[in-house]
Amino acid sequence: MHRTPRFLREDDLSALISALPGTRCYQPIEKPTGTDYGTPSSSPPSLRGKRPTSPTKPFFLPSRERVAAFWGSRDLPEIEPFSLVGLRNCDLLSIRYLDHVFLGGVCEDPFYKAHRAAAFLVSVDCSPPQESCFCTAVGGVPYADGGYDLNLTPVAEGYLVVAGTGAGESVLLATAALLTEAKAELLAEGEELRARMVESLSTAARSTPDPQVVAERLGGSEAHASWEPWAGKCVECGACTAVCPTCHCYYIIDSNDAAPGSYTKIRTWDSCLLAEYARMAGMGAKLTPRPRLRSRLANRVLHKYVYSFAQYGMCGCLGCGRCDEACLGAIAIRDVVNAVGASR
């Protein structure tokens, strides 16, 4: 594998992108509402701006997907190859997390697997971080150290490009004419950018203790009263779970959209904060395992900061800050973790 970065001029970025595999290429585009993924026809992607508002999970776990039919074919989904440009390290880590969930258990999810296999991933080092970013507080860094096909490190006049897989290497071979040797000054510039981003994140991010310490402090606290004030602010909208790159709960409904009397099974996103989550049949007094919002909110935070370590050996919160931005009740998950942790 060619692990020494090559240099790509800014003007040649579009040429590199057009050499990426797949029929579609999703790239971050700056819009009035924020940066988001799209398939621009001409404009170059926004790789030096803010990270996309949306997580990457819809590319692998669509918010609504047909997973079966009564009594349909046994064919598994065929997903056309596509490229995804502009992922940040937190996005790559979220894919690693979802791989544990959907591919690492007793059975593989064929739909997730198909989307995943079709994707070519191009990551980019963060510059600059957003106000809500705090990846360094949960053990992350604002640049990738794996999980990509290609990674781009922005420097003054272009990018340092490195391949992480054979597929990425093939693209670099096919675009060899665009690439030049990255001189020592450029490599140093890339390293300096990374160090500067870590530095600015560490000073900007409101401090959160080490996730392992948080896990120990919060463990077994679901019933603790210190969750109560946060439940008071939560309006149960589910925005945090929708934008969270690692939230993956789903619900399966029957739909007859296709034809009257002919039913398909549709998998849709679910949210553990909603009162109806995990509702069971019957007329008892306790129809869900967590009838109180306080314990649902606690469970979501504890899943990220405590249970994920036991399940997958990694923190379920990657510090992307999207839930902070989306929350209608102005709840910042860092503040919740700090406050509940301090009360224990």
């Binding site: 997973v67 079966a68 039919a69 009564f70 009594w71 349909g72 046994r74 598994l76 007793v106 059975c107 999810d109 064929p110 739909f111 399966i252 409904i253 029957d254 007859n256 039913y263 099974k265 998998r267 069971m280 049949a281 019957g282 007329m283």
Partner: protein, 207 residues
């Protein structure tokens, strides 16, 4: 323990028979279009197109993957619809799902099975397994309780089970009842002292 390549896809099954157990509980006999081999403790999703799906543990023997019995209390949208079905109806079954009981750990142990109400339904699959391998087990004690006598499940099988060598079965109802001459009391309380000599405990929880 095998799943289809697409675990979301229901296996078509025909409702072969319906047996009334209690005023609110029926046993449904399904013949799936392909065998559904399961381990006791595993569950399936019963899928009623357009109504939804709900999880149930078969109450029939894991040795008979071509014919699944599922004993169901009428209590919600899916179960109401199930109780309206007539033999011949077609529906879907997804599974088996879950890990099942670690039945290999039962070898050489005394077995105590405690169940209440409709909770005996999923345990019956375990009982069939336990009866099948009873030569390799110690004593088998089954304690079952329900709120009232008319809510006792599988009544016509009790004598048959008790007649098996090494097997003891007893039923209790929670409170005295005019038609009940057996023991009364909540089964978790009446099960506290079963054997005078200590038995080697075998946890039946999945892990």
């Amino acid at each position: 323990m095998t799943l289809r390549a697409n675990p979301y896809e229901p296996i078509a099954a025909r409702l072969a028979d319906v047996v009334d157990e209690t005023p609110t509980i029926r046993t449904f006999v399904f013949t799936p279009e392909e065998p559904i081999p399961f381990v006791s403790g595993q569950f399936v999703q019963l899928c009623l197109p357009g109504i939804g799906e709900a999880p149930f543990t078969p109450s029939s023997s894991p040795l008979e993957p071509n014919r699944l019995e599922i004993t169901i209390l009428r209590t919600g949208a899916v179960t109401e619809a199930l109780h309206r079905l007539e033999p011949g109806a077609e529906l879907g079954i997804r599974g088996p799902l879950g890990k099942g009981y670690p039945v290999e750990k039962l070898q050489g142990k005394d077995i105590l099975v405690v169940g209440g109400g409709v909770g005996l339904a999923p345990l019956r699959a375990l009982l069939y397994h336990v009866f099948h391998v009873r030569d390799q087990l110690g004593r088998i004690e089954i304690k079952y309780g329900s709120r009232s006598p008319d809510e006792l499940l599988f009544r016509r099988q009790y004598d048959q089970w008790s007649a098996l060598p090494g097997v003891r079965f007893s039923a209790t109802v929670d409170v005295p009842h005019p038609q009940w001459t057996g023991r009364t009391g909540v089964v978790t309380v009446t099960s506290r002292t079963v054997w005078s000599s200590p038995a080697a405990p075998a946890s039946c929880s999945s892990s």
